[in-house]
Structures are given as structure tokens and as C-alpha cells.
């Protein structure tokens, strides 16, 4: 019912958007038809309202767990916490389109409010056009044999028409959903995607303005009003990129903040081109300048967004990204969207080409326009490198069949020289921006920054033991960027701090460059002596594989045994203190405590985590995820994760033995979904393990192997009078880590109590191992018995022979990466305030002039 309403709302919103588009078009054709335009605004607002209501409905379905809807089924589950239920709204493909639509509607509303009369309708034509395209992705209607869009309100039988079970039972409602992927269960999901999509939506503005300018042949007037929006779009994108990178750094175990993954690149490229566009815009906003570059970059930034949406949402990257993407049936439509954006924008651009004011470009090389233009080109080329790398599944086919993605070194090798050039250009650009120079006077002015940067570079090269010549140049360029732009900021700060946005951003960029090099190229692994020796031996070619070949790879992990302090660095000792189950956070999650102790007495504890990914684990296999712990510091971060442990190994072995009645995955799952009731002892009831086996069989559970030897008749003396039957099971228990063995013989009996038959089976406590075994049932006429063991998890926690395999390293000055990005954000914000105020003054002046004229 609600689903039907939702579908109708989306289809109506699509139709309303189309109508609004038509009216805006009409209003722009017949210049200033205020009535038509007003109706178009109303329709646009109504469309936005419908998008909000549809989102509300989807959130309602998610919160009421209506699993007959595919989206709800596929992205949520009963035990999902409230905050992740909210996040689930946009964690899927169709929901994220809804979020994108809503942001764009909000941006459109802002444009309606703040855009001057003659631009409003034409700009809104293009904003509404984008909304029409986005809505079309959600239609879920069939015209003939063509499917258009995938509705977020599809039912599971609509989403999976070929599933045999659903064919037979079209009204089937699953009891529970698939749940949100565990890797996404992090507070960062609440903030990263919304900001990213806000950035995408804001990037519509320069695109729409540039297109409107081309269309209405107002090549000049669009730049000033579009400038603050473009700055806002880039601020959002850099913030989202930072949040994504930081999220990956602190919760995933790939060991850094950037992996050149296609999905990361998808947000980075529009930013690079957007920033290139900003540089073109600040130069070309003056009346007498040509506008071609600004227009081109505004178009390209949006094409990049459409292209990257196609790459990440269509499934073409399925093979090359660690984030896998599967086509939702939108492939053709996404191609169409991309094609339409390219054809419309470049078509109009070419159509107006002859009419566009061209550059006279007669000035010297140190002309500020030329320097800024070169900087913009460098940014664009960086974007080009990344687009080509990311597009390997498509354009790689021109080179080889079945192309693989390029290695990370491809991106690093190409972006590094570009970053060097960019850092240098930021300084020259800033200098020539504020004052006219010739070559001689510029070198004179730059003498100070050059000397300071050289001293800083040499000091760093000596102190940091830098040998690589490329790194030396890079370092120098970065220092030059910091110092040179620092000089500019210092000078501006005295006069007009409002103007320092650009130089501030450049300082942030250069600081970030230093942080990137220091934290990645000079990262050092912590290793124990044994592993160090092993690595030395490998380097010397002294380690052989079983088959006699040389081992060529050093390793970066080491083992810590429980309670055994191990020296892992000159002044540093690490101790594996304990492991605790942390079922509250996630069922089956293990919280490890590792103590770091320095020679100077400083001590702290690291708490890395391993947890089973329940949404991807099956009955027989657990898919473990590790979550690192980062100890952040000003000079370096300590990054550590547990790559394996005796506890995990025991469970894996148990699963490999493959014969248990109740699998661990199931048990872990049950422990999570059952209400966590506490009995009087304060111990969770979920620490009960029940399994069945036959005479002669063995079971391994949590590091203990239980063997059912035989039955033994109970003697009359030990039985109450009311007993009907009673039998002992002779059980042998082996602690796998030590090989220690114990034999017990718990009893099972049926007694008559007040005329009722009841079972009586006292648990047998094993004091040494701190758990109790109960012979809880027996299948008559077979050898099959059931044991219930309580306290085993505690036993696992108390296992004195536990060990962990640890990967730990020191990342120097990674704080500079974050500091740099923060400064970039501040710089952008200063610029937004300045350009926003500027544009407001301009419109007020225009209004005043107009009212003065009438």
C-alpha cells in the first residue's frame, strides 16, 4: 500500500519535473514571462516536496521493517541500530539517488531565491533537466519491453521476478532483512555520503549557469553569481573526500587514507576539475576576458560527475574495485544520462563557438592569467590521469584484452610530478596575482621563500634521512608552497584578511603534500626481533621455500603471546594483555587489549577489534573483519590491527571440522539477535553452546575438543527414588592449545515429580577451565546425545596460551595531512564569504541602478 503510494509519488514528481522543465523553457524563450516562471517555480517546489515525502515513506518502511520491499530487505535488518536505519535510507543505489534529488531540489530553491531575473529561468531549465534525469532512474515503469528506472519501492518479487520461490509465493514476506554491511556500520556513514551528494548537487550550479550563459549568449554575466556556489561545491567535495579517507583509515585495515580505488577517485576527479574551473573563473570574471575556459571546466566538472556516476553505479567497475558494484539494470539509462549531458553541453558549446569572445593572449609568460590558466591545466591533467586509470575496464581494451586496473604506482608516478608543479605554481600564481612582476623582480621577491624552503628541505633531508631525489624535489616544492603562500597571507593579513582565502587554501595544500610523503614513504613497521631477523635473512636470500626456491618477500607482522612482553622497536615493548568478547557492539566481536610500554615509562593500551561479518558469513564459514586502532599524535600516529588470533583460529578450525550441529556463525548470530538477558550471576545467557554427537565422535568448540566415548549406566545409589531412567555419558575433553585432557561423566535422568516427568541433569563444572558441561538430552534408540556447555567463551578469554598476530606501524606526520585539509577547508570558507558578499553587493548595485533608472 505505502509502496504503491511511493511509486505514484515518484512518477508524479517525474511528470511534474518535466512540466516544470517545459514551463522554464517557455519562460526563458519569451524573455521574462513572470507568470509562467512563477508556475514553474511552484511545480519545482512541489517536485521537491514529493521527493521529501517519498523519502519519508521509504524511511517509514525502513523503520517499520517492511521486508516485502526489496530496498528494506536488502539494506536493513531487525537488529540494526536506529542511526544505521537512517543511514540505510541512502546506503543503497536508489536511496542515494533520492538523497541527491533532494539536495538538488534544495539547491534549486536557493537558485530561485537568489538568481537575478534574467538568468533565473534559463538556469532552472538545466537544474530541472538534471532532476528529470535523476528521477527517471527511480521510475520503475515499463514501456513495452523497456524498463525505465528502478523504484526504491519495489517489492522483493518485483525486484527478483525469476526467483522460483517468489514465483510460487508472490506474497512472501521475509522474517528479517539482509542487514547493512558491517563495514558500513560506522558513525562516519551518517555524515560522509550526505556531504558528498550535497557537493554533487552544488556542482550542478556552475554547470547550469554556464549552459544558461551559452544559451542566452551572456557569456560573461554568469561567472560572478556562480562563483560562490562553485566554491561551496568544492568545499563539500573536499570535506567528503576527507571524511571518506579518514573513515577508511580508522576503520578499515588497508592501512592508509587513500588507495586510488575507483570509488574514491569518483569524488576526487570532479573536485580537481571543479577547482581548475574556479581558477579559470576568478581570472575570467572580468568583463574584458575570454570565457571559454571557465565554461569548458564548468561543463567538464559536471561531465565528470555524470561519468563517475556511470562508472560506479553501472557495474562496469565490478572487476577492478574493492567495492563491488552490480548493475541495477540502470546501465543503459546511466549511459544515456552521461551521453545527454555530453551532447547537450558540448553541442551548445560548439554551436556558440564562433560567437564566444576569444583570448588575445598577447601578454608575457608571467602574466597572472597565464599562470592561473597553467595551474588550472595542471589540475585538469591530474584529473585526466585519474580518469584514465579509473577507466581501465573500458579504455584498457584498446591495449589488451581483458584489461586489469593499473597498479597504484601508475597513479603515484603521474600525480607526484604534477603535485610538485602545482605547489610551485601556487606561489608564483599568488605573487603575480597581487602585483605585476617581470622575471627579474619576481625572482627578487621570491628570494625569501626560496631560501627558507631550501633550508627547511635540507634540514628535513638530513634529519629524515631522505635519499630519493624525487622526494627531495617534492619536499622542496611543498616547503616552497607553504612559505611562499605564507608570505602572501602575512602581507594580506595586515591589509585585508578577507582576501586571503586563495593563499590560505594553497598553504593547506602544500602542508598536506608534506604529510602525504612523510606518512606513506616513511612509514615504519614495528617488528619483533625474530621477524626482523627473518626479514634480514630474506633480504640476504637465505630463506628457502620447501621446494628450494628463495623467499623474496619480507613480512610486516609479528606474533604476541599472551602476557609475554615483546620488544618491537628500540624503546618499545608490546604485550598482549587479554581478549574480551564485546557482544554489545557487534555479536561475536572480540576486543583485544595490547599494551605499549616505552623505556621512558610511558604506557598506553591499544584496543583493536576483530568481528564476524554476519551479513556475509554463512553457516559454515565466518567472514572475519578486522578493525584497526589508531593512536593519533602530533608527530606520528601508531596504527595497529590484529590480523589473526588463537581465538579466531580455533573457531575456524571448528568450522573446518564441519560436523557440528549448530554452527558458530549461527551461534554468534543468535547471541546477537536474542535479547541479551542477564541472569543473577551477571553472565550473559548467550554464553551457552549446545551440540549433539554420536558415540565415538568428536566436536571442537572454542578451542576444546569433546569426545563422546561411551554410555555408562548410573548406579542405583546415586539416583533419587523417583528416577525412571538415568545414564552417564563418558566425555573426554582436550584443550587444543596445550593438549591437556580431562574426563568427565555427566548424568542425564528422567524423574517423576508430582506425577510429571522431568529431566534432571546436573552440570559438571571443570574448575581449571572455568566452564560447565551439562548432558542436556539424549535421543532414545540412538547413540545421539546433546551437551550444553556454559562459560566456554569466558574460558576462551581466560586461555593463557592465547596469541595474536599483529600488524603495527608508525606513520610520521600524518597529522599534517589532516591539518592541511582543514586549512584548505578554512581557505575555501574565507573565499565563499568573500565572493558571496561581493555578489550580494553587485546585485544590490544593479537593483539600485535599475530603480534609479525607472
Amino acid at each position: 500500500m505505502i509502496g504503491e503510494i511511493g511509486k505514484i509519488l515518484i512518477v508524479s514528481a517525474f511528470v511534474i519535473a518535466l512540466t516544470s522543465l517545459f514551463l522554464y523553457y517557455k519562460a526563458s524563450r519569451n524573455d521574462l514571462k513572470p507568470k509562467l516562471e512563477k508556475t514553474a517555480h511552484r511545480l519545482f517546489a512541489l517536485m521537491g516536496l514529493l521527493a521529501v515525502i517519498s523519502s519519508g515513506l521509504l524511511i517509514y518502511l525502513i523503520f517499520t521493517h517492511q521486508f516485502q520491499y526489496y530496498y528494506v530487505y536488502d539494506h536493513t535488518s531487525l537488529n540494526l541500530q536506529t542511526r544505521y536505519l537512517i543511514a540505510a535510507f541512502y546506503s543503497g543505489q536508489t536511496g542515494s539517488f533520492l538523497l541527491w534529488i533532494m539536495w538538488t531540489a534544495l539547491v534549486g530553491w536557493g537558485l530561485i531565491k537568489w538568481t537575478e531575473d534574467e538568468f533565473r529561468a534559463p538556469v532552472m531549465v538545466f537544474v530541472t533537466l538534471i532532476e528529470v534525469f535523476l528521477f527517471s532512474m527511480l521510475l520503475g515503469v515499463n514501456i513495452g519491453s523497456i524498463h525505465i528506472g528502478a523504484s526504491p519501492f519495489r517489492t522483493i518479487s518485483e525486484a527478483m521476478p525469476n526467483a522460483p520461490y517468489l514465483r510460487a509465493h508472490p506474497n512472501f514476506i521475509p522474517a528479517d532483512g539482509n542487514g547493512l554491511n558491517d563495514l558500513l556500520k560506522s558513525p562516519w556513514i551518517l555524515i560522509h555520503p550526505p556531504i558528498l551528494f550535497l557537493g554533487f548537487s552544488l556542482m550542478t550550479v556552475p554547470f547550469a549557469y554556464a549552459m544558461a550563459g551559452l544559451w542566452k549568449r551572456k557569456y560573461h554575466e554568469w561567472i560572478k553569481p556562480a562563483l560562490p556556489w562553485t566554491l561551496g561545491a568544492n568545499l563539500c567535495l573536499i570535506t567528503a573526500i576527507f571524511l571518506g579517507g579518514y573513515w577508511a583509515y580508522v576503520t578499515l585495515s588497508f592501512g592508509g587514507f587513500w588507495a586510488w580505488d575507483p570509488v574514491e577517485n569518483a569524488s576526487f576527479v570532479p573536485w580537481l576539475i571543479g577547482v581548475a574551473g574556479l581558477h579559470a573563473m576568478v581570472v575570467q570574471k572580468k568583463k574584458d576576458k575570454p570565457k571559454t575556459t571557465s565554461i569548458l571546466f564548468a561543463i567538464l566538472a559536471y561531465v565528470a560527475i555524470a561519468y563517475e556516476s556511470f562508472l560506479t553505479r553501472s557495474g562496469v567497475l565490478g572487476n577492478s574495485s574493492v567495492h563491488s558494484f552490480v548493475d541495477l539494470g540502470l546501465y543503459d539509462q546511466l549511459v544515456f544520462f552521461l551521453g545527454a549531458v555530453i551532447v547537450v553541453s558540448f553541442g551548445l558549446f560548439i554551436y556558440r563557438w564562433k560567437d564566444l569572445p576569444k583570448s588575445d593572449a598577447s601578454s608575457s609568460m608571467l602574466n597572472r592569467d597565464f599562470i592561473l590558466f597553467s595551474g588550472a591545466m595542471l589540475l585538469f591533467l591530474t584529473g585526466l590521469v585519474i580518469i584514465i586509470g579509473t577507466s581501465s575496464p573500458i579504455i584498457g581494451r584498446f591495449f589488451v584484452n581483458n584489461p586489469t586496473p593499473p597498479p597504484k604506482s601508475f597513479y603515484n608516478n603521474w600525480t607526484m610530478p604534477l603535485a610538485i608543479a602545482l605547489a610551485i605554481f601556487t606561489v608564483i600564481g599568488q605573487y603575480v596575482w597581487w602585483k605585476n612582476y617581470d622575471a627579474e623582480s619576481l625572482s627578487e621577491a621570491l628570494l625569501g621563500p626560496l631560501v627558507i624552503a631550501s633550508i627547511a628541505s635540507i634540514a628535513t633531508i638530513i634529519l629524515g634521512n631522505v635519499h630519493n631525489i624525487e622526494y627531495m624535489i617534492y619536499l622542496f616544492a611543498a616547503y616552497f608552497g607553504v612559505v611562499g603562500n605564507g608570505f602572501v597571507v602575512a602581507r594580506l593579513y595586515k591589509k585585508k584578511p578577507k582576501l586571503a582565502g586563495g593563499a590560505t587554501t594553497h598553504i593547506g595544500f602544500a602542508i598536506m603534500l608534506i604529510g602525504i610523503l612523510a606518512s606513506t614513504a616513511y612509514q615504519t613497521d614495528f617488528l619483533d626481533a625474530q621477524t626482523r631477523n627473518y626479514n634480514h635473512a630474506v633480504k640476504a636470500g637465505k630463506v628457502m621455500n620447501k621446494d628450494g626456491t628463495k623467499v623474496s618477500k619480507t613480512v610486516n607482522f609479528f606474533q604476541l603471546n599472551k602476557g609475554e612482553p615483546t620488544v618491537i622497536d628500540k624503546n618499545l615493548t608490546a604485550t598482549f594483555v587479554n581478549m574480551k568478547m564485546d557482544n554489545q557492539a557487534r555479536p561475536g566481536q572480540q576486543l583485544y587489549t595490547i599494551k605499549f610500554h616505552y623505556k621512558n615509562g610511558k604506557t598506553y593500551y591499544m584496543h583493536p577489534v576483530i568481528y564476524p561479518m554476519l551479513t556475509t558469513s554463512t553457516k559454515n564459514k565466518i567472514n572475519w573483519a578486522v578493525s584497526p586502532q589508531v593512536k593519533a599524535g602530533w608527530f606520528h600516529d601508531i596504527y595497529l590491527y590484529v590480523g589473526g588470533s588463537s581465538y579466531v583460529q580455533n573457531i575456524n578450525n571448528e568450522l573446518k571440522s564441519g560436523n557440528q550441529v549448530e554452527s558458530v556463525a549461527e551461534r554468534v548470530k543468535n547471541a546477537g539477535s536474542a535479547p541479551v538477558s542477564q541472569d543473577n550471576s551477571g553472565k550473559s545467557n548467550s554464553d551457552l553452546v549446545t551440540f549433539r554427537f554420536k558415540r565415538g565422535q568428536s566436536k571442537t568448540v572454542d578451542g576444546y575438543t569433546f569426545t563422546f566415548k561411551n554410555f555408562k549406566k548410573a548406579s542405583d545409589s546415586e539416583l533419587p527414588d523417583s528416577a525412571i531412567i538415568a545414564v552417564h555419558a563418558m566425555i573426554n575433553i582436550k584443550q587444543d592449545s596445550t593438549g591437556a585432557q580431562k574426563s568427565i561423566s555427566p548424568m542425564f535422568s528422567i524423574v517423576k515429580n508430582n506425577g510429571k516427568k522431568m529431566s534432571y541433569a546436573p552440570p559438571v563444572t571443570i574448575d581449571d577451565w572455568k566452564f560447565a558441561v551439562q548432558f542436556s538430552n539424549v535421543k532414545p534408540m540412538s547413540d545421539n546425545i546433546q551437551l550444553t556447555v556454559s562459560g566456554l567463551k569466558n574460558a576462551a578469554q581466560n586461555d593463557q596460551n592465547a596469541w595474536v598476530v599483529v600488524v603495527a606501524d608508525r606513520k610520521p606526520f600524518i597529522s599534517l595531512v589532516w591539518a592541511g585539509i582543514f586549512i584548505i577547508m578554512i581557505g575555501f570558507s574565507i573565499s565563499i564569504l568573500r565572493r558571496w558578499a561581493e555578489d550580494k553587493r553587485r546585485t544590490e548595485r544593479m537593483k539600485a541602478a535599475r530603480s534609479g533608472a525607472t
Binding site: G92, A163, L381, I388, N623
Partner: protein, 134 residues
């Protein structure tokens, strides 16, 4: 105007051709074990994990080892100098990146192609599983 434009055009043309040339050399093709044996450089081999053969991480040899069957059905032992990767047991398809020497594949990198990493899975309901992305 002319010299600047010409310089710019030459620079961009040079940059782009060099970029494409290097890109073409950087990427390789997904291949199989027999072809990998002939190659002396690092290759990508696609295949699946043979669960009937022993696998596991050994701390003493510091390697994770398993047997992989490529698309042609050729099976080779794979050694990987890291603890067992996340997602390994669940991956339908595995890509190992490295070199084949004397019928043993030394992997620098193992890429898992899971049904969908960012998606919930494990339900039997899905016969044709349309999946989402982030």
C-alpha cells in the same frame, strides 16, 4: 599569442600521449597459470579457491598458502606473505597478482571478488541478485 598556444598544445599532446603510452604498459591482462609460467613479470591470474586441498596461515613459514584453480582448470599452489586476507573464504572468484615460479605462484596481492562486498548477502532468496552500490 602564438608561441604560448603552440607550447601549450605541444605540452598537452606530449603529456597525453606519454600518459596513454604508460597507461598501456601499466595495465596487464587477466591470464591463467600456463601463460603466467611463460611470463617473467607480474601477472593477474583469475581463478577459484580449491577448498578440498589444505590451506591456511603458517606462522613458522610466515605465509598463507592455498590451492587455486584457474579458469582452464589448472591448479597451482599459491603462497602469500601475509595473514589470511579478509573475505577470503567467502570470495567466489580470486585474483592473485604475482609471479609463477616452478609451479608455485608467489602472490604479492590477492583480490577478492565477492558477490558484493558492500552488500548484504547470504540469502538463498536471490537467484538473480541485483545489487546496489554505495
Amino acid at each position: 599569442m602564438k608561441p604560448k598556444v603552440i607550447m601549450g598544445v605541444i605540452f598537452i599532446a606530449g603529456f597525453t600521449s606519454l600518459l596513454f603510452y604508460n597507461f598501456g604498459n601499466s595495465i596487464s591482462t587477466y591470464t591463467n597459470f600456463n601463460q603466467a609460467a611463460k611470463s617473467s613479470s607480474s601477472v593477474h591470474v583469475v581463478g577459484s579457491w580449491d577448498q578440498s586441498k589444505p590451506s591456511g596461515f603458517s606462522y613458522s613459514t610466515k605465509t598463507f598458502s592455498f590451492y587455486m584453480k584457474d579458469n582452464k582448470g589448472v591448479e597451482r599452489k599459491v603462497l602469500y606473505p601475509k595473514p589470511e586476507p579478509n573475505n577470503f573464504e567467502q570470495a567466489k572468484k580470486i585474483v592473485v597478482v604475482g609471479q609463477l615460479k616452478d609451479n608455485v605462484f608467489y602472490a604479492d596481492q590477492i583480490l577478492m571478488k565477492c558477490p558484493s562486498k558492500y552488500n548484504a548477502n547470504g540469502s538463498n532468496l536471490k537467484s538473480r541478485a541485483p545489487k546496489k552500490n554505495q
